[in-house]
């Protein structure tokens, strides 16, 4: 990906003799940490660096196409490579063992060229990649570029849930499970297969649990299995040893000789005894004690983490192809965050209950944006959306609160709006499709809520917003 327009200062290279030299940088560059065993033709510029600091500096090289890790330090170098915006998506090869996924062993020239060609083709089909800056997009792009590679977990006993997702660590995306939950909710990743199910402490989320059986009466761990005898004459229950008397069974309580099973005595079902409180019981209480925080969990209460592998969704591919979240967003003026919207709705609901304040919630959603882009092309869709945005903006008041709740769903909080006014607003929204040509292709849907007319006992922001969204998405 050399770009002649973007000349960067020449880098210092070291040849076999150890002399520094300058070289022209128009050729695709292969950056090597350490001396590679392979010899590549003059089509490539092979830049060999042995010093880590110099290696990190060299990552900014724009003509960089591939990185070869030939000396120890791959574990350290790879996260830096992936978190550097220039090299985040580049091919990295190494023969050395590495904690993180690589693109393979050091290739010969032919293999390298094949790999580079495939990578280039993929890269060109996602024209928006260059603009991407945040690590989450880098991860998604990384997976997309490698032929929709799966995001796979790997066994790691040091981890709290015994697995880790090396790619998530590599791109420094924080807590893996949290990230994955968010990504699945945003439909960026979709689970492919369930690999394992791990139970975790409810207190510290570690999965190093020890299952112990305890006395159900006093919760002492000091319990034992024993064979007990129940005397029919006096009802005494005790350990068999206490009944033994010179080769006979004699009840220690009433001194009756117990000769015949079923007539004189039997075996009680309780065959466990607590050494601490002396209780007899049938089944011990089992708890899962966390070896990390000593918290005692009821085994049926434990958190269950599903360890899955993930793939990128069509929506992700669309985002990588068209990138611009903003371009297909309605420009409705200043927006609030989701959390703030939740807070505001709760507040309005509270006011409405107490003072009969009127407000309305309006949900707008475009359900077929991706398909419309395929059909009409990005420019056309962009035009439609900007026209729609202008129309909607005209009909809003300054005091209305706007939130882009999901990629193509908008929630509008219209305070102090009487119910008959809401119907007017709804009519306006429905007229939009006749005003702006091509709106039908986007499959616009509208749903609304008015308080206090529709307010039910127990309604809250979470419930109302979820209901409105499900109505417009056509699920309900």
């Amino acid at each position: 990906m050399s770009d002649p327009a973007n000349q960067v200062p020449a880098l210092l290279c070291v040849d076999e003799a150890g002399e520094a030299f300058l070289e022209d940088n128009n050729k695709p560059t292969i950056l090597c940490l350490g001396e590679p065993q392979q010899i590549y033709s003059a089509r490539f510029r092979v830049q060999v660096v042995v010093n880590m600091a110099a290696f990190y500096d060299a990552l900014g090289e724009l003509s960089l196409v591939a990185i070869l890790l030939c000396q120890h330090g791959a574990d350290e170098a790879l996260p830096v490579i992936r978190q550097h915006s220039n090299s985040a998506l580049k091919l990295v090869f190494s023969n050395l063992p590495c904690r993180f996924p690589l693109d393979g062993r050091l290739p010969d020239e032919a293999a390298l060229i094949a790999a580079l060609t495939a990578w280039q083709q993929a890269y060109q089909s996602f024209p928006e990649l260059e603009k991407m800056q945040n690590p989450q997009d880098h991860l998604l792009a990384y997976l997309a570029l490698r032929g929709e590679q799966l995001l796979q977990p790997e066994r790691d006993l040091a981890s709290a849930f015994s697995y880790r997702y090396p790619l998530i660590e590599l791109f420094d995306l924080g807590d893996s499970l949290f990230f994955l939950r968010q990504a699945v909710r945003d439909e960026l990743l979709a689970p492919v297969s369930l690999i394992d199910r791990v139970r975790q402490c409810t207190h510290c989320s570690h999965n190093t649990l020890n299952y112990i059986d305890l006395c159900p009466q006093c919760s002492s761990i000091d319990i034992k299995q024993q064979s007990a005898i129940h005397c029919f004459t006096c009802g005494h229950v005790g350990e068999q040893q206490t009944f033994m008397e010179g080769g006979r069974l004699v009840c220690p309580n009433c001194s009756t000789a117990l000769r015949h099973i079923g007539t004189d005595y039997d075996r009680p079902l309780e065959n466990m005894e607590c050494n601490h409180c002396g209780a007899f019981f049938i089944e011990a209480k089992v708890v899962a004690r966390c070896l990390h925080c000593d918290h005692e969990n009821d085994p049926s209460d434990l958190n269950i983490a599903q360890i899955q592998s993930f793939k990128i969704t069509d929506k992700t591919k669309f985002r990588l192809r068209v990138a611009s979240d903003e371009r297909f967003s309605l420009d409705l003026g200043e927006q609030v965050s989701r959390d703030y919207l939740h807070w505001l709705v709760d507040w309005q609901v509270g006011l409405s209950r107490r003072h009969q304040i009127e407000f309305a919630l309006l949900c707008l959603s475009f359900n077929r944006v991706e398909q419309a882009v395929e059909q009409l092309g990005a420019a056309q869709v962009y035009r439609i959306i900007s026209q729609l945005g202008a129309q909607i903006k005209d009909s809003l008041r300054v005091t209305d609160v706007i939130c882009q709740y999901q990629d193509h769903s908008y929630l509008l909080l219209l305070p102090n709006l009487p119910f008959d006014h809401l119907t007017v607003v709804q009519q306006k929204m429905q007229q939009l499709s006749s005003l702006v040509q091509g709106t039908d292709a986007l499959a616009m849907a509208v749903s609304s809520f008015h308080a206090p007319t529709e307010l039910q006992e127990g309604d809250n922001a979470d419930f109302l917003l979820t209901r409105l969204l499900s109505e417009v998405s056509g699920d309900a």
């Binding site: 080769g247 006979r248 000769r259 015949h260 099973i261 079923g262």
Partner: protein, 452 residues
């Protein structure tokens, strides 16, 4: 009431007085009792006393002998009753290993019994590695014989697969006290003991008057009589419901033999070594007790005894008549078998019957009734003596058995009926070869056995 009693007493004293004066007549009245019953009674009484004298020494003798014991449980149509038997062996207080083998004869027809036996396996297996075994020293296997082969084939099949040093046979409807195995094995410490006879009591005692009277009968004829007889090494029978054998001895004499009354047959065959090996000894253990269900109606009781008494005659007088030799049995057992087996069990019933008829023919009825009353008291005395011996010297459940004395006045009548009935059984066997109608084996097995 008192008048009647006085009149009766006066009447009786007259008879006894005349009996004393007219000695000849009395001597004619009582030969059967004196020579047969009394001689046996004396043997038993002194045997029990002698047993009692040595009992504590026997129990206290230290023992580390605990060989592997195989228990062959013969099951047929008992259904879930066999669970009690199996459980009672699992519960034994015995340091050694007990191998419990439930052999089910005709498991195809007796599917219910087979399923019950299979269900018992859960007591002996570990559900998981961490569970302690409920019976660590016991093993259990079910041996189904799909085709019915009879009792003897069941026992021999069990003997074939058993791996113990001591073999015990037990009926599927008999459950055992938890000291049984330990007490039985203790006798085998003496290398001269080839077999031990076990005691039987009635499990369904309280069910009817028939079972109550049989309880008394078992106490006298098993607990008491066998204790006394075995003391002199003259035990009459090792019961088929419960006995123990030294395995190599049992295999050497070929296990059980076909035909009915296989238990008495085996006892006779063991005894046939007594003449050549006078040191051999078959003890009886009155405290190793199996509780068995006896017939609870008078009709089923009669049927059972018709079989048993007929079989006795078949065995002594047909199958084993060649065994009645001094050289085989030794003097003591020869005499005993002749007196007990032939005279008392076979000839005496005829004598008593004919004697009673003869009395009625010759003497006036009132006199005859008086004589019979006299005989009644004679037998009552015998019964009381044996019951007292049993109760005070042998019984291990004294607190539960005092009621037997209440029932003892009825017993002589029951015994009289037994005698008459045993004569009918003998006639049936002699004239109709009753033993061939046994229900203990199917006809195709009986047909192939030797005819006697």
């Amino acid at each position: 009431m008192l008048d009647t009693f006085n009149a009766l007493w006066g009447f009786l004293s007259q008879i006894w007085l005349s009996a004393f004066i007219d000695g000849q007549r009395t001597a004619f009245l009582l030969p059967a009792f004196i020579f047969l019953e009394l001689s046996l009674l004396l043997v038993v009484v002194f045997g029990v006393l002698n047993w009692y004298r040595h009992r504590q020494a026997f129990l206290r003798a230290p023992s580390t002998y605990s060989p592997r014991v195989s228990v062959i449980i013969t099951c047929y149509g008992e259904g879930r009753d066999i669970e009690k038997t199996i459980l009672s062996f699992a519960e034994q207080i015995y340091a050694g290993h007990i191998e419990i083998i439930a052999v089910i004869d005709g498991a195809k027809q007796n599917l219910h019994t087979y399923q019950a036996a299979m269900g018992c396996r859960r007591w002996f297996i570990q559900a998981n590695r961490n569970q302690i075994r409920r019976y660590p020293n016991r093993s259990y296997r079910v041996l189904p014989k799909w085709q019915r082969g009879g009792r003897v084939s069941t026992l021999n099949a069990g003997l074939h697969v058993s791996r113990g040093d001591i073999i015990m046979n037990a009926d599927g409807d008999t459950s055992f006290d938890n000291q049984t195995v330990a007490l039985m094995v203790k006798h085998f410490q003496d290398p001269n003991v080839p077999a031990v006879a076990g005691a039987l009591k009635v499990r369904n005692q309280g069910e009817s008057w028939v079972t109550r009277l049989q309880t008394l009968e078992y106490m006298m004829s098993i607990q008491c009589a066998k204790t006394g007889l075995a003391r002199w090494n003259m035990v009459n029978n090792i019961s088929g419901a419960f006995g123990a054998f030294r395995c190599d001895f049992l295999r050497k004499i070929g296990g059980w033999n076909t035909h009915t009354a296989e238990d008495l047959d085996l006892t006779m065959r063991i005894k046939a070594y007594f003449g050549r090996h006078p040191h051999l000894y078959i003890p009886f253990e009155p405290h190793a007790i199996g509780f068995t269900d006896v017939p609870d109606t008078f009709k089923s009781f009669r049927q059972q005894r018709l079989r048993w008494d007929g079989d006795l005659l078949f065995l002594y007088l047909r199958k084993h008549k060649q065994s009645f030799r001094l050289r085989l049995l030794g003097l003591k057992n020869f005499l005993f078998t002749v007196i007990y087996g032939v005279l008392q069990e076979v000839i005496l019933p005829f004598l008593i019957f004919l004697f009673t008829i003869w009395l009625f023919v010759i003497y006036p009825a009132a006199y005859v009734w008086g004589v019979l009353l006299f005989v009644y008291f004679l037998y009552l005395g015998q019964a009381m003596l044996l019951l007292a011996l049993y109760y005070f010297l042998i019984s291990e459940r004294r607190e539960q058995e005092l009621w037997i004395f209440l029932w003892s006045p009825v017993y002589p009548l029951f015994a009289f009926f037994r005698k008459i009935w045993s004569m009918i059984a003998a006639l049936y066997e002699l004239l109709a070869r009753g033993h061939e109608e046994t229900s203990m084996a199917p006809w195709w097995v009986i047909k192939r056995g030797n005819k006697f």
